[in-house]
Amino acid sequence: MKPVVTIIDYGVGNIFSVCRAFEHCGAEVRLCDSEREILQAERLVLPGVGAFADGMAGLRSRNLIEPINQFAGTGRPFLGICLGMQMLMESSEEFGLQQGLGLIPGKVVAIPSTGDNGVPHKIPHIGWNELLISETNRVGTIFDNTSSGSAVYFVHSFHVVPKFSQSRLADCDYNGRMICAAVRSDSIYGCQFHPEKSGEIGLTIIKSFLDK
């Protein structure tokens, strides 16, 4: 039987690619924007690009915050992608302090404007960068079939700083700055990169999520 994935459509960004990538990996995709569909989901994906406040406003105006939090408590698989990952956190400093879903302790802050050598670097962080996957935390996760050093596609100006190191599933190195590339808390996952835009490596990560 096909795994079913429910993708939240709250009016933000290019959701088409996310749907296509999951379908390509063998899933039946259901787009949803209602409480009932979220609570009934087998596994849930929160995609998103753009500003944090706009994303949260999109969820709030559709009354989706409470059902998402309820879903997260069920232990069923949940994946936030890019802005979707950032919204899992408690707060963001993008355009003033904004409250997030608070499913994983930690915050979202601007990527430092320089490398660790003090030399200014390009913001947004755009492009393919190597995943540095935590060997201790990776077992049984969405990185089961992905080796550390695999490159995936990033595009973001803010990054997640988890409060606890055990939430940190993978990093990437941006001119000496360690950027959190993936987080996990039980069955809740977040990817700062775009698995749907990361070629075969990204598709492998999506398949692993569908196996959860």
């Binding site: 960004g13 290019n14 088409f16 690619s17 296509r20 990538a21 390509h24 690009v49 753009g50 500003a51 404007s113 200014p120 390009k122 913001i123 947004p124 962080h125 755009i126 492009g127 393919w128 960068n129 050093g149 490159a151 596609y153 990033f154 595009v155 973001h156 100006s157 190195d173 941006y174 001119n175 775009h194 749907e196 835009k197 990361s198 070629g199 075969e200 990204g202 598709l203």
Partner: protein
């Protein structure tokens, strides 16, 4: 550190992939989706689709091509040509594009950059600049696929675009485009060192040495290539390997 991106650029007219010299004398190459699929499987880091006659007709005809391509291509896709409003942007994003490249409409009305960045995020607002050399160290921005002079200085326009919220700049040298004589490295360096956002160098790649030069001397963050790929003068894996051989920071596949 992020890798230097190797981008396949596909200029499109009607249903066809085309290639010209200095954006003129367009020659039909074939079905764009066939080329795009091949580049995806060969490990392109991104694809750029440009509707080269869209500005003339005032609309972008790529929605259907984008929709088809996005079915089976899982790397970032930038689409440009004839994008005039946030509604145009929305239609392309919903068809599967990740970013839009805007030139002519942004020069006519710079506020469009801000509107796109606000509504969809800077990450999807690529400012496309077509540059022609005026004198040593000075370039003028052109519109309508290299046809109309705008009077704007390229470096100043790039800085302005960045302030307005562009997330990336695609910089095409009209003089070098399609000539296979190498990038205008002075142009690329002048812009790449003036703005804090990534710059994609476009126009002139004839051999791998040109790629290395525009990254090392031109400080390019990404390299767009067309002619060399479309005519199969070299394939992407060879180009990538050549970059890795000389220590260029490109993605390992």
């Amino acid at each position: 550190m992020p890798n230097i991106r190797l981008i396949a650029r596909l200029d499109i007219k009607g249903p066809n992939l085309i290639k010209g010299v200095q954006l003129e004398g367009l020659r039909v190459m074939g079905d764009p989706e066939e080329f795009a699929t091949r580049y995806y499987h060969q490990g392109a880091d991104e694809l750029i689709y440009m509707d080269v006659v869209a500005s003339l007709y005032g609309r972008n005809n790529l929605t259907e091509i984008v929709r088809h391509s996005a079915q089976n291509i899982f790397i970032p896709l930038t689409v440009g040509g004839g994008v005039r409003s946030t509604d145009d942007v929305n239609a392309l994003l919903r068809a599967g594009a990740d970013k839009v490249a805007i030139n002519t409409a942004a020069i006519k009305r710079p506020g469009l950059i801000q509107e796109v960045a606000r509504r969809f995020g800077s990450q999807c607002m690529v400012l496309s600049i077509e540059a022609k050399k005026v004198s040593e160290g000075k370039w003028e921005a052109y519109t309508d696929n290299g046809r109309e002079p705008s009077g704007l200085d390229v470096v100043e326009w790039a800085m302005r675009g960045c302030e307005l919220g562009a997330g990336e700049i695609m910089l095409t040298s009209v003089d070098q485009e399609g000539t296979r004589r190498g990038f205008d490295c002075d142009l690329v360096r002048s812009v790449a060192t003036a703005v804090p956002i990534p710059v994609i160098a476009s126009g002139g790649m004839g051999m791998t040495e040109h790629m290395v030069e525009v990254v090392k001397a031109g400080c390019a963050d990404a390299v767009a290539m067309a002619d060399i790929l479309h005519y199969k003068r070299m394939e992407l894996p060879e180009i990538r390997a050549a970059g890795l051989d000389v220590g260029l920071h490109v993605r390992h596949l």
